[in-house]
Symmetry: C2
Subunit: 138 residues, 2 copies
């Protein structure tokens, strides 16, 4: 998600572009790891000292709503956010350092059809996430 798109998206939904939001978005955008609200707060305050933790929460909420960022689920917790990739993408996470990489190209059609028949469910969506060790950590 490039630097300009989030401004457009905020604006088009009636939200204002402020220093606090700029600091939050740029912090999440720049990170290769999923960040918790407090991590965002600490990092973003290096650029914008007046930032309050509450604004971080409120901004993250809106950014998630607009699909600009997404929540990352991990065994150790589910409060962290990462900048959303383009298209239908999934996450690959390093267990050691937490580095996150998007990938695409999963084809679960066959599986989903089979499960659908077996269970009687109408399947709408799927979550797929991989865990491992990155180049540096393995």
């Amino acid at each position: 998600m490039s630097a300009e798109i989030w401004q457009e998206q905020l604006h088009d939904n009636g939200y204002r572009i402020t220093a606090a939001r700029r600091a939050v978005v740029e912090t999440v955008e720049r990170s290769t790891h999923a960040l918790t609200p407090i991590e965002v707060y600490d990092l973003a305050r290096e650029k914008y000292r007046a930032l309050g933790l509450v604004s971080v929460y409120r901004t993250l909420e809106k950014l998630e709503e607009l699909g600009i960022i997404q929540r990352v689920h991990q065994p150790m917790g589910c409060q962290a956010f990462i900048s959303t990739g383009k298209g239908h993408q999934h996450l690959l996470l390093c267990r050691e350092c937490g580095e996150a990489v998007f990938f695409e190209g999963d084809d679960l059609e066959v599986l989903m059809n089979s499960i659908s028949k077996k269970t009687g469910y109408q399947i709408q969506d799927h979550w797929l996430q991989l865990f491992g060790l990155c180049k540096n950590c393995k």
Copy 2:
């Protein structure tokens, strides 16, 4: 996970079988939905009134540790637990009523090899979860 196995597993790990634990395990085991600690507390107290919320937390912790139950990640929250299925299984969840069903038979070998090559990661594990509508809700 049948009614006797959890008793064995607790015992073999040096834990005692108590009324509180019995109430918690039976509550989770009986449910077709993932239950939060408070939901477990409320339901289990119908059978064992003296149960405290703290014991629910401590019991759930141990049961998860032993693999008797597992945490379920959902868009609305990740605090709920469900009785663990046998073998390598994944969850299919109804978005409407929350009913949970296990399925197996995913084969992600091909995908994982391809991602491994592209990213340089050594992939160790995967999370796959499906969302949809169950027979009754669709």
